[in-house]
Symmetry: C2
Subunit: 214 residues, 2 copies
DNA sequence: GAATTAATTGAACGTTCGTTTTATTGTTGC
DNA sequence: GCAACAATAAAACGAACGTTCAATTAATTC
């Protein structure tokens, strides 16, 4: 047999991407076989090669588009005229929302970096670094203007990223906490971490302020 | 050929463990082949099966001993008579020291859980949960006695664990910061996160206090 | 120094892997 | 309705995988 009735390239490619993200997130890139992926899509393994030349290229595509999506989401979410606290707030909100929404893709992008060739690894890491650089800039600005009080902006940025991204490890939709509640608590913790102050009010008010906006 | 001069079972097994931790941390469990591991040790692949019946058993052994080591280290580091701040301080110090010292083993224990059979996965997760439970208890006690001021102890515990364990992602010995400096900053950030207070002094002093002890 | 045990080699087993090739069929444009 | 094209199936490729087995030699025991 050959072409099946109703087959459509675009639909198949989309199905491959989605199945690949789920399988890689669950079993890992090396553990997922092309035959397993094909079976999940409902197709023969050879058909996958019409859309992705190699297995690694498939992985790279998934990661690159995930990182591009993250950058795009932040560009859209970043407020134009905002003080440091508002910027940081927007960054945290966007980061948590994006990562909860794409738990599996995030897992893939974080855990399978070692399966990329050096050049592709560099490319992904460059995108990640650029994204993290935005956070460092926000923290540095806020520290210099007195909105924050930070010991080490580099370390604080890394700690914040790890803390926020860590949400996907334990968060499951529909359990004890809603996304809004989780976001509110993480905003509160973020403001504590950076020693945030607003208009001279003390820290506790910052938390309440952050929670109201979440 | 057969047995080689100077061969010693104990030494070979130790060499296998060490090589396995490094290879799995670098390439991943699935990507590491038994032949690759054997070559690293300087032995034929068949020789590995004298010490570990299967590849998965080898992985499980590495993980279990890592978790046992973590529990043992905390038992030894936990102060007998201490208030909440001191307990938390000891927990953070021990956690960071242990994980920096065993970066590769930590990477393996965190990233390769999905390669374990369900029963073995359960066993490792039980050990991890027990360890994290200690932190939650410290946070809850401190919150109830007023030493800390925490919104959600469960979330704060997870955030702290993610933040601290994340050190191994970027920390490299001999770079910008020493272990002591990193620990001091993380202690400071920890006390901020839990809203730590000592004798009614305000938060900033807690940080300085923590840094002096690091 | 012979017998026993410990440690390892080298070859082989069956399976699965990513990928390629070729043929075949559905779909589309004229 | 016929050519051109798109999308797939089916089979096969060599390589690599985890693992087993028999043979062999070093170390130990008595």
């Amino acid at each position: 047999m050959a072409r099946t009735t109703g087959s459509d390239g675009e639909k198949t490619e989309a199905a491959v991407r989605e199945a690949a993200v789920n399988l890689i997130a669950r079993f890992g890139y090396e553990a997922m076989s092309m035959r397993q992926l094909a079976a999940e899509v409902g197709v023969q393994a050879a058909a996958l090669y019409r859309y992705f030349p190699t297995k690694e290229e498939l992985l790279f595509t998934l990661m690159r588009e995930h990182m591009e999506g993250l950058a795009t989401a932040w560009e859209a979410a970043r407020p134009a005229d905002a003080d440091s606290a508002q910027l940081l707030s927007a960054y945290v909100r966007n980061h948590i929302a994006f990562h909860i929404e794409r738990r599996h893709a995030t897992h893939v992008s974080n855990m399978e970096l070692r399966s990329l060739s050096p050049e592709r690894l560099t490319q992904i890491l460059r995108m990640r670094t650029a994204y993290e650089k935005e956070l460092r800039a926000i923290l540095r600005d806020g520290d210099e203007t007195g909105a924050f009080s930070i010991d080490d902006t580099g370390l604080t940025a890394m700690a914040l990223i790890q803390m926020m991204t860590g949400v996907i490890v334990w968060f499951r939709p529909g359990e004890r906490l809603s996304i809004a509640e989780v976001t509110a608590t993480y905003l509160s913790m973020t403001m504590r971490l950076v020693g945030g102050k607003i208009d001279g009010r003390e820290e506790k008010n910052v938390h309440e302020h952050a929670q109201l906006r979440a």
